[in-house]
Symmetry: C2
């Protein structure tokens, strides 16, 4: 099968991914993407027949990216507590992007809930990947009660940080909240601690 076409398809998805993150989905046109990739609109349409189709490809790519990232975390960090710290530090590592564009997952879901509700169920799977991974780490930490709720709470906390950081373009708030969230995790571990 076409290896050259496949490579270009990949480049289109990456460009669309970035543009959707930076400008929003509705606010990004086929021409915008084609311009960034450096191809014609006609060629673009050969690879993606509709805007829904490229949105789907972007979501799939993001989900695959998150899964790969978490696999790497698991390999790099053996201690579940360290892994959760690393998760909490994620907004810190991406400070500047979050200040400018918010959380890629949260902002896309927020937009799709308004502009393309049919795809919301695909988009929120990005959250689910994180959620399921969090559940595993919490279990490894010896926390067995309400693990799903705690994992969801985790996600919501990070989302809140991202929104406020983005709205006020305030990285100081982000830094301080990340510290606080780590303390909250420590407390949570203590509360459920038996060992």
């Amino acid at each position: 099968m076409g290896s050259k076409g496949e490579a270009l398809r990949q480049r289109i998805v990456v460009a669309a991914d970035n543009l959707f993150y930076q400008q929003g989905y509705e606010n990004t046109s086929f021409s915008d993407i084609a311009d960034v990739v450096g191809i014609s609109r006609g060629n673009f349409y050969y690879h993606f027949k509709s805007k829904d189709e490229i949105l789907n490809a972007v979501i799939d790519a993001r989900i695959a990216g998150i899964e790969m990232m978490l696999d790497e975390w698991d390999k790099k960090l053996k201690d579940p507590r360290q892994r959760l710290y690393y998760y909490i530090d994620m907004p810190l590592r991406n400070q500047e992007e979050i200040r400018l564009h918010g959380c890629p997952t949260g902002s896309l879901c927020t937009e799709l809930a308004k502009a393309n509700r049919a795809m919301l169920d695909d988009a929120n799977k990005m959250f689910t990947v994180f959620h399921d991974w969090l559940v595993v780490q919490l279990n490894l930490l010896g926390i067995n009660k309400n693990v799903k709720k705690i994992a969801m709470h985790f996600i919501a906390r990070v989302q809140g940080i991202a929104i406020v950081t983005n709205a006020f373009e305030d990285k100081d708030f982000l830094q301080q909240e990340v510290k606080q969230l780590k303390k909250w995790l420590d407390d949570e571990v203590l509360k459920s601690g038996h060992s």
Copy 2:
């Protein structure tokens, strides 16, 4: 000055407000608004010369609405703790809207950060109104240390709840998180309690 024109202007702002909340700002056209109000695009343009102008009017109306709402809360509830509970319960009272469209303030800021960054500083003032009110209530509660940070934390928590509720269309999560946030407030009061 034109009282009839002023009344229509008001109706336009209300319609635009709702549409921006339900469909997003970028995804709402002049025609959409004109259709809802039942006027022609030409007439619409007589009252608002540009899309930025109506966005500005919507933001101003929202800020005024929030200020009025908080004034009523202050009149209705004399105890600052009760007021803060009432703030926390706000997503609960608007469950269905948040499930469908998220938080009006948060989702607008998220969108404008991508699509119309120049207006982000106007939009985040909606948060500031809540923030300043929260600071007052916390002070009344006898909390004087890091009040601004706590108020901002408050806002971020509610935002996180709204995002996840909206992304998963899950009101159960909202209800459980609201309970938890009240507990957190109680703890915060206890920690700073002197009286």
